[in-house]
Symmetry: C3
Subunit: 350 residues, 3 copies
């Protein structure tokens, strides 16, 4: 517990440094790196606090809460990017979050889990992976027909906002219809095997969650602010920034939590954190942001480039193929990692 408070102090110090850099108009690359690191640190604190809250309300709630607050940074980053008119960054952050969680984090979790499992075969409940596949295919369908219509440039391509809004509402309804029975006590097939960190007291956790939320909002603002000049200074493409750097920074919690859980053999919980995060980004965060963007000048839609559309569709299918049978071995984890490496390489040259 003392360690948790020490970490919290360090994170606060880094966040303070970020604030100073932001308000003194310092070198944007420095601001970008420091606020990015602070975001990762806050995400880590959120992870600890969530688990403490989860210990009180049961396992399924813990998994969903974990990924919900774990997705807070993405939410703020995209909102601030949208209000700054950076639609490309906004969209790539969402896609990057999906790819990073579904390919990088899940791949690492499988590598960690399978190398510790008996006979190298990691096992987990097959229900959640299959549900996630359904939800992801639903999102891919919507994105695919919009993207293809955009490519062809047919009449419907002039109504992308309207179609995206209808699709967003559909996604939210289906997600709700999935979430409600999933959260019902006793319906979850997996069992929470106890908290993996030293639990902090419940009131402290609630206070920590609240302040972390506020802090995330500020840090995201400064992060997005420094993004544009920093990326230009570093000569990195915007696509790479959004799809890789922001995505990894914004998913720090899921990354660390899922991999360390798999390493400890808590396979079901590890898979739950990853899968819940993936379906939440695709079927909750993305549609919510599409609807929220109606309030901004620049609209966020489900229209994405064919390359990312193809990558997303094949990610959904590969995810289902690899985890749908409730088993995973080393080479399958490496296959997911390879997909991420190849995608990141391509984006590097964009």
């Amino acid at each position: 517990m003392a360690r948790t408070y020490a970490v919290a102090a360090v994170v606060l110090a880094v966040a303070a440094a970020g604030a100073i850099l932001h308000f003194t108009d310092a070198e944007p690359v420095a601001t970008f790196v420091v606020t990015g690191a602070a975001l990762g640190g806050v995400a880590w604190l959120i992870g600890i606090a969530t688990e403490s809250v989860g210990a009180r309300f049961g396992p399924a709630v813990a998994g969903v809460l974990q990924s919900t607050v774990g997705n807070l940074p993405e939410l703020f980053i995209v909102l601030f990017a949208l209000s700054a008119g950076e639609v490309v960054v906004a969209q790539f952050s969402i896609l990057g979050s999906l790819f990073a969680t579904a390919l990088l984090v899940l791949g690492l979790a499988i590598v960690a889990g399978s190398s510790r499992a008996p006979a190298g075969r990691m096992t987990f409940g097959a229900r959640l992976p299959n549900d996630t596949a359904t939800l992801l295919l639903l999102a891919v369908f919507l994105i695919a027909i919009l993207g293809l219509s955009d490519q062809v440039g047919d009449r419907a391509s002039q109504h992308q906002t309207e179609i995206s809004v209808v699709g967003a509402v559909c996604l939210l309804l289906v997600y709700a219809a999935w979430l409600v029975p999933y959260l019902r006590p006793g319906s979850s097939e997996r069992a929470l095997d106890g908290p993996s960190h030293s639990v902090i007291p419940f009131p402290v956790a609630v206070a920590m969650l609240a302040s972390a939320g506020v802090l995330t909002a500020f840090l995201s603002d400064w992060f997005v602010d420094a993004l544009d000049p920093a990326v230009e200074a570093l000569g990195i493409s915007k696509a790479f920034t959004g799809l890789v750097i922001v995505a990894i920074a914004g998913n720090a919690v899921e990354n660390v939590v899922a991999i360390s859980l798999a390493w400890k053999g808590k396979n079901d919980l590890s898979i739950s954190v990853v899968k819940n995060s993936v379906s939440q980004v695709a079927c909750f965060l993305y549609p919510v942001l599409v609807l929220a963007s109606l309030a901004f000048e620049h609209r966020l839609t489900f229209v994405i480039d064919p390359v990312y559309l193809g990558a997303l569709a094949l990610t959904a299918i590969a995810l289902w193929q690899i985890t749908g049978d409730g088993e995973a071995v080393l080479f399958e984890g490496l296959a997911l990692l390879s997909l991420y490496v190849v995608l990141a390489t391509l984006v590097w040259f964009e």
Copy 2:
């Protein structure tokens, strides 16, 4: 049984009204609506008559016969559309029939079935859904390589009719190879749980089927005739008409029968009606019409727009993913419905 004859009388009256409207050159919108309603009514009568015949020849025959005569209206609509040179309407009717059955009807059947099933989990035999997935993927493969070749505009794209004919023959052969063992007595894994309507006498059923077939032919002719001016008057796009309105009208039987069966807990029979209808349209009706169109001036091919190609491929995969495990829950039914709503929204703007 008295109710059946009453319904038959009403349907005949509506059909007669359609005939009068057609021959008096009445307002096309009125003709369109009335003949569409009459087609739905005839489809309903065909459903009842089929079940009666099926009660005599066993369950597998009943399922296939059900979807065969249930697909009669589409057959006539497409034939008349082709002879009138309306290739777009013809093709969209076939696609619409696939989407309506696979997404709308199956979605509603799962919603109905799962909301009545214990623990909200509808179960059924997994064999037929997987066979349907194979057949559908076969059709999608053919459609995909033709569509992609057409998009690229390569040399093969000038021989779409020849390739379509070869593909059509392949589809029919595979469908026959699937159908023959499926119909063999005792090979079917599902059991027919008795007729769901009051059974009418066998000779009456045969007479009804014959007259309904003739009536369908006439009504389809008048329906297609009124289609063009009616759609123009209403300001609805041709794509929406074909993919949504004609598709729902032409699949009335499957709609009503499958959903009511699922509601009564006869899950296997419900899934059988839907799945048989889907594979029959993809691997029997579509290829037969492609071959039949060789006799017309305008040829029907398997080349479709990329948007519908993507939608079809993802529909095939989603169908397999959701029903391939022999189980379905509420959110999965809603997911299928959402796919249909999103597709219909896009088509609305075409």
Copy 3:
């Protein structure tokens, strides 16, 4: 055994005839046909020799060795095609090898196996088909995002060689991670049911393998040399030559061995030969050739036309769908054959 030596003598005679035709600058069509036939014969000898070696080192090694040497002709053909600057032929040979093995050979094996199996249902271990699906999806992902980026013509499309090299290294790593535990004794779930030909003595087999390897290299050179003028004389498109003729000639071993094994009811071994060949071409041969092509003037990349990309993606999915459950029936074999026929028809018109 006497039969084996007789076959070897005939093959050598045909190869000698090919040599004479090549060095006398004879009619290219004749050289093309004779060297092609000799390649098929050598492949057949390699098959026999491999089995003899395999009998000494166990089942898993036999399966992998079988497909490794069975893929030697493709390796040489592509290398010589690359050095002659025939990048299209090189790429189409690889793709053709994939399609021929995955669709034609597997289709025929399932037709043969299911028609002899009790109740027409051929059964086999589900592990290998699922592993192959994972490996194939990995290759398809890489090929898809490169192909889509090429179509869009974005900035990354100017770095196709670099991205292909990264992808090739990833594919090889994953393939190695899969192969090592697969080859470990006792890890294989299938059992080798004894050799299917009369076994030749081990030293003879090793000598035969060595000389067959050398012979294959020469024959491939002459074959590729005669390819261009022969195809022109025959009026066959290069795409058809690569995807169908070269593919079938180069996969003669897998063809004959897999189908005869299935016919004898040795389903697991039959499926193993086909599946190992498919994943080896996709995740070993193709990446090795991409890396090897760095030494040539013309580079081989993973960028392929959309038509073949679509066909490859759907082949991977259909393969998984049909064999992933460890069962196959007649119509599924016919479905795979149909996919091949449709693809070959399309390529015929290119």
